[in-house]
Subunit: 209 residues, 2 copies
């Protein structure tokens, strides 16, 4: 397998934490998003979407979505399950991962990509050029605040997003909080449950590497 990634970016970070938790190491090539290398012909030949992370399997299949990489790697490296260990936990973990992506990640992406000059003409990731929509940046910032509240309410009385173990639901929620800092948002003081959970997750070796 070979992983193409750019460690500081949020979706690569999700996968990196997952791999660190499992103790999995994969040959890696860094694609420099800062210089636009993801749009180069050579990288588009690997992944036509031009996105990272991209995981090339030994048979040449390319996985382009983190949820697919999670699923594949969990089966190949079953040690330390991060997608749940019974039907209910698996369902809830996938649900929260999805929710954190659509209501969390996408909110930050809306705020960032529709306001920062470097993303002009690239308001969405991928091969098609879309212009920035300033009103969408404002909406993204509102949605970030709303989602802090959702997570705070959910985490009351809980150590982890689902059940008694650290899972990908925690990873995606944690990286959402990190990513929200890119648009100068931060967990509000009143979100004490989210703050306590965030502080605890921050101590994990996997998120510090």
């Amino acid at each position: 397998m070979k992983l193409y990634t750019y460690p500081p970016a949020p979706n690569p970070m999700r996968l990196a934490i997952f791999m660190a938790e499992k103790g999995v190491d994969i040959e890696t090539e860094v694609i420099d998003l800062m210089s636009g290398e993801q749009r180069s012909d050579s990288f588009r030949a690997v992944n036509h979407w031009g996105t990272v992370p991209s995981l090339v399997l030994d048979d040449g299949t390319v996985l382009t979505e983190v949820v697919g990489m999670y699923s594949y790697l969990e089966e190949i490296y079953p040690q330390k399950p991060l997608l749940g260990s019974d039907p209910l936990s698996r369902a809830l973990i996938l649900s929260w991962d999805h929710r954190c992506f659509t209501d969390g990640f996408q909110a930050v992406a809306e705020a960032l990509r529709n306001s920062v000059p470097a993303f002009a003409g690239r308001a969405l990731p991928g091969p098609v050029s879309y212009e920035q929509i300033p009103a969408l940046a404002d909406r993204g910032k509102e949605r970030i605040q709303a989602f802090y509240g959702v997570l705070d309410k959910h985490l009351e009385g809980r150590d982890f997003m689902v059940g008694d173990d650290f899972t990908v639901a925690d990873i995606t929620a944690y990286v959402f909080v990190v990513f929200s800092g890119w648009v100068k948002a931060a967990i509000p003081d009143e979100c004490v449950h989210l703050s306590a959970w965030h502080q605890q997750i921050s101590t994990r070796v996997s998120v510090q590497s």
Copy 2:
């Protein structure tokens, strides 16, 4: 278990096709989205997001995301696997389901919810009110056309989205095409591979019920 749903809507349709393929029947209550019943106190007591489908399990847990319902029901009713039968197919199916949701479903939702007067103040599903952004409706329509092209290219030489069997990747792609009709979009004539696949999928009993 008890399912709260509104059959004509796209996410309920995904789950209904899944259940029909498996021959699974679950006690169902219809929540009338046309009259705003999803925002009633009684339904918000079931699912605070105010979205359908919502699946209440026997232990009282409520699943609110289709991907979580898929995962749970696939394990409880393993007959006729719709999420794949080996690590690679499972990874690809989850990946395409995600991609069809973010690039397909969300594109149609952008186009619909930001233009139709009935969605004024409700540009996103869920409990928070967001105003319509007309530019986002236009972008949604562009993205629909782009995603027809993505599916057409992918389906060249294929009978199904992943491998040799009908899976949830086909369901989400198919319902995207149905949903795109809500904003008067339709598969362009030049998308011959997508058209052929769509015609074939349309003959299935599960999508006609």
